[in-house]
């Protein structure tokens, strides 16, 4: 009953603490951030089920193995592994084991208004843009983000100049390469200037059956009247830990839309923090998880309405086969000043497997009286009547199920604006359905 006593450090925690010893020293702001994050981890360790935000994803018991920080990947292997979204017409950057691979990245002939560099290069050059890094804080201890802040050495730093419209999406392909389990940390920063428009895609993949850890965090600073689309496709290997953090600071009258597609990893946790600090902006955070076997995917959302007149929409879908487990935790906070807020959050789960589990926790925290907020959560098996309708028309069981699942997921995928990316995601969903025995 006594929560004051700290449990013994697990082997995974010990390994992480050992790697924290290598956190770079120095007097600059970034080093301070890193040290603060390392200290926070030392104090709090890996979260467990008594920590409310990790109630359904007990990282302490799930993350058993101690793995070292990943070394550099072989270029050929990284190239061979980066398969996702290849068919999409986009500028491609490959990040292997947490480091940008220049040989595989297309950094030449950048459109006017677009600046792309690597985090390590920006640090070496003392780039001004780094003053934005770590500028968005979740306001509470987040183990995945703390580790990322402390340990990430590389990633992508993108700046879109005010007023620039970049048609071609930028695709950052994260891969894990190597034969031994290791932990990779990548930190990216995307700054979209006033009135600019930009599409950012990221994908994650790696070998199946290997208990590697992919920890990626990306900060998005969105200027006034800007338009940002983010698409993420997570197909990490079946044994992998995928820990992702997305942080958004959204300016006035801007539009931000994200779609997060989760198909891979043994255990995946995606945290999304958004601070709406400019009036009349519109955000849409959507996603879908298709899970099978013993996969576990957790999406945790925190949308903070600080100013009046913003609109937020969240739609998340889970399809759970076999004995997989889906988790959705969403919280909309409406501050006292944020009158005329319009927030809607919906989480739907389709349970296919007899032993599958869905945990929903859609939360509202409202301090303003003139607002419209709502949330909904449903969970259940495929509607028998719909199945009957299709089967009565001669469609076999499996196919009928596939059609209905496709329609179910389609509602969320359709929100992706970019045609090429949307089609690529639909294809991935179809491949997932086809792989169902």
């Amino acid at each position: 009953m006594n929560a004051d006593i700290r449990p013994i450090r697990t082997p995974a925690e010990q390994a992480i603490l050992a790697s924290l010893g290598t956190v770079p020293e120095g007097g600059d702001r970034l080093a301070d951030l890193r040290r603060a994050a390392a200290r926070a981890f030392e104090e709090n360790g890996l979260p467990h089920r008594r920590v409310e935000e990790w109630k359904y994803t007990d990282l302490r018991s799930l993350m058993r193995e101690a793995v070292p920080v990943a070394g550099a990947a072989a270029v050929a292997e990284a190239d061979a592994r980066a398969r996702l979204l290849r068919g999409v017409e986009a500028r491609r950057i490959v990040v292997a084991n947490g480091a940008v691979v220049p040989e595989l990245s297309d950094l030449a002939d950048l459109e006017s208004g677009l600046t792309v560099t690597t985090l390590s290069a920006a640090i070496a050059a003392g780039d001004e843009v780094l003053s934005r890094l770590g500028g968005i804080q979740p306001g509470r201890y987040d183990a995945a983000l703390a580790l990322n802040t402390a340990l990430a050495k590389d990633g992508v730093v993108v700046t879109v100049a005010p007023g620039a419209t970049i048609e071609r999406p930028l695709h950052v392909a994260h891969v894990f390469a190597g034969a031994h389990a290791a932990a990779s940390y990548a930190r990216s920063l995307v700054v979209v200037g006033e009135g600019a428009a930009f599409t950012y895609a990221e994908s994650f993949e790696g070998p199946d059956g290997l208990a590697y850890q992919a920890n990626a965090a990306t900060e998005f600073v969105v200027g006034d009247e800007a338009h940002l689309d983010v698409v993420r496709l997570q197909e990490d290997g079946t044994g992998a830990f995928h820990l992702a953090t997305m942080l958004f600071a959204v300016g006035r009258e801007s539009k931000v839309h994200t779609f997060s597609f989760s198909l891979g990893a043994g255990v995946a946790r995606t945290s999304l923090y958004a601070t709406l600090s400019g009036e009349n902006s519109h955000v849409g955070f959507n996603g879908a998880s298709l899970l099978k076997n013993r996969q576990h995917a957790d999406t945790t959302l925190y949308v903070d309405h600080q100013v009046p007149g913003c609109e937020s929409r969240e739609l998340f879908k889970h399809v759970l086969d076999d004995s997989s487990r889906g988790v959705f935790q969403g919280k909309i906070v409406v501050r006292q000043a944020a009158q005329k807020t319009d927030g809607r959050m919906m989480s739907r789960a389709l349970v296919l497997g007899d032993d599958a589990e869905m945990d929903n926790k859609p939360e509202l925290e409202i301090f303003a009286d003139d607002v419209q907020c709502g949330h909904g959560a449903t969970c259940g098996a495929i509607d028998d009547e719909l199945l009957f309708y299709l089967r009565a028309r001669g469609i076999p069981m499996k196919e009928a199920q596939s059609l209905l699942v496709q329609a179910f997921v389609g509602e969320a995928v359709e929100t992706v604006e970019h045609d090429g990316l949307r089609e690529a995601l639909v294809e991935r969903a179809e491949a997932w359905l086809a792989s169902r025995a």
Partner: protein, 490 residues
């Protein structure tokens, strides 16, 4: 959308400075020594002439309580409670009351002032004027002062008496069921209650009996510096039905008073229990001074197949409410219901909701919760719906709406929905617009605007539940419910 004027006025009239039951009855009382030790537990047990097993049970609870920590996960904040600065037992000093005429006239006057008839002939007068017949167990601080209609109920085989009396007269029943729904160490406040509980009601409805009248308990905290720790145990045997009501008030005081009750319901095969509460404890003054700390554990166990437990609560009182009436749906085809209206004003803090735990096959539950926050108050709905692996065909529908009046208050929703069975079907919604489209369409077709139509449908539904309450509760409750739904924020 902001709240309409009518709603605002209605809630204002319930504001904390309008508390009508804040008077204090000057009466000599006998108390346990201040503080809480094993001796206090022994004192209470001895006062009630309890058998040895119950004393042991209490002492065990007390020892466990000492190793526990006060929970802090609820969205409420209050200064630390000094558990050693309270009286755990307080009873009006009086000679043994054998009949209603022996009861201290001061106490009778108190209940009269509260509108609770303790004389059966008064209650019967009420029937002529249209009210339904209600049997009352009146609990004054730590003791039950009167229980009406005992004989009539006994003729039907229904046992309705203070729990302290039941311990002596029906030890086999008490021993069998006490602590079987809320275990001794369930939570901090339930464990404290197990150690020091004083009085409360005991109800047993035998097989196949439909309880001939409504049963009710009226709880009154009167004495200064005391806590009230009542314990209620209701058992509906196979095929039985009982409707039970609970009301509570307390004097206005600058100090906070603790109320930590435990209510256990057991429904066997085909039994049904309806439990209704109008909670009107003193909420503190407009600056948040005083008021009752209400930490209550209420749980119903649908132990038998096809059993049903229904909780209805109208919450307007208490400085702090920490209360989650729950249903354990253990029997196949059992049903659980939770209807709640929670109104907070002034500096009140409400953290309330329910738990529906689906264990049996084809179990169903429904949750309807309306929270209205005004002034500087915080109103949180916290609920859990869970289906275990074997709960095939579990069904839940949850709807929780909240409304804010003014921009200094907060309304929060924290639902947990956990499904471990693929055939379980759970729906949770927190919008008013999602009431059955068919019904809306029907009303609109007849010329009602959407707002009117929505209000009509929801009010019609809620009133249905309220009709189960006797007059004095229903009038009060209906006033609270007449609040319009406009401007709900989910």
């Amino acid at each position: 959308m902001p709240a309409v004027q009518e709603t605002v006025d209605q809630v204002r009239s319930l504001d904390v400075d309008q508390y009508k039951y804040g008077f204090f009855t000057e009466i000599e009382s006998e108390k346990a020594p201040r503080g809480l030790t094993e001796d206090t537990v022994r004192f209470i047990s001895a006062k009630k002439n309890e058998p040895e097993w119950l004393l042991e049970w209490r002492l065990d609870a007390f020892r466990r309580w000492q190793t526990m920590r006060e929970p802090d996960w609820a969205r409420v904040s209050y200064p630390p409670i000094d558990y050693q600065d309270l009286y755990y037992y307080s009873a009006p000093k009086a000679k043994e009351a054998l009949s209603i005429d022996d009861i201290d006239p001061e106490i009778l006057a108190t209940y009269e002032k509260l509108g609770i008839p303790l004389r059966e002939r008064d209650a019967l007068l009420g029937i002529e004027s249209g009210a339904t017949k209600v049997a009352v167990d009146a609990v004054f601080d730590s003791v039950s002062v009167a229980t009406t209609f005992k004989e009539e109920l006994a003729r039907a085989g229904v046992i309705f008496m203070p729990i302290s009396e039941a311990v002596r007269e029906h030890p086999e029943l008490v021993k069998k069921y006490l602590g079987s729904v809320v275990p001794v160490t369930d939570n901090y406040f339930a464990t404290l209650n197990s150690a020091v509980f004083s009085d409360g009601s005991f109800v047993y409805v035998p097989k196949g009996v439909r309880c001939p009248m409504e049963l009710s308990t009226y709880f009154r905290i009167n004495e200064r510096n005391t806590g009230q720790f009542e314990r209620t145990l209701i058992i509906a045997d196979e095929g039985a039905y009982v409707s039970y009501l609970e009301g509570c008030t307390a004097p206005m005081r600058d100090e906070n008073q603790l109320h930590a009750a435990v209510v256990e319901l057991v429904a066997l095969d085909d039994a049904e229990i309806k439990y209704s509460t109008v909670q009107n404890w003193y909420p503190g003054d407009k600056d948040g001074k005083g008021g009752i700390f209400n930490f209550v554990t209420k749980r119903g166990d649908c132990r038998g197949d096809r059993s049903k437990i229904s909780w209805t609560q109208v919450e307007t009182g208490s400085a702090i409410t920490w209360k989650y009436p729950s249903c354990i749906l253990r029997g196949d085809n059992s049903q659980g219901e939770f209807y709640s209206i929670a109104i907070s004003n002034g500096r009140q803090q409400v953290d309330s909701g329910t738990k529906m735990i689906h264990l049996g096959k084809n179990t169903s539950s429904r949750i309807i919760s309306k929270g209205i926050a005004a002034g500087y108050s915080d109103n949180t709905y916290r609920g859990l719906v869970t289906a275990h692996r074997k709960a095939t065909g579990a069904r839940n529908f949850t709807n929780c709406d909240s409304l804010l009046i003014g921009d200094k208050c907060g309304a929060h929703t924290v639902p947990y929905i956990e499904s471990k069975n693929s055939s379980a079907q759970f729906e949770h919604e927190a919008t008013t617009s999602k009431i059955s489209d068919d019904q809306l369409f029907y009303c609109r077709q007849r010329g009602l605007d959407p707002e009117e139509a929505t209000a009509l449908i929801v009010n019609g539904f809620v009133k249905d539940v309220l009709q189960q309450l006797p007059m004095e509760f229903a009038v009060e409750a209906q006033k609270l419910i007449a609040v319009s739904l406009e401007g709900s924020v989910g």
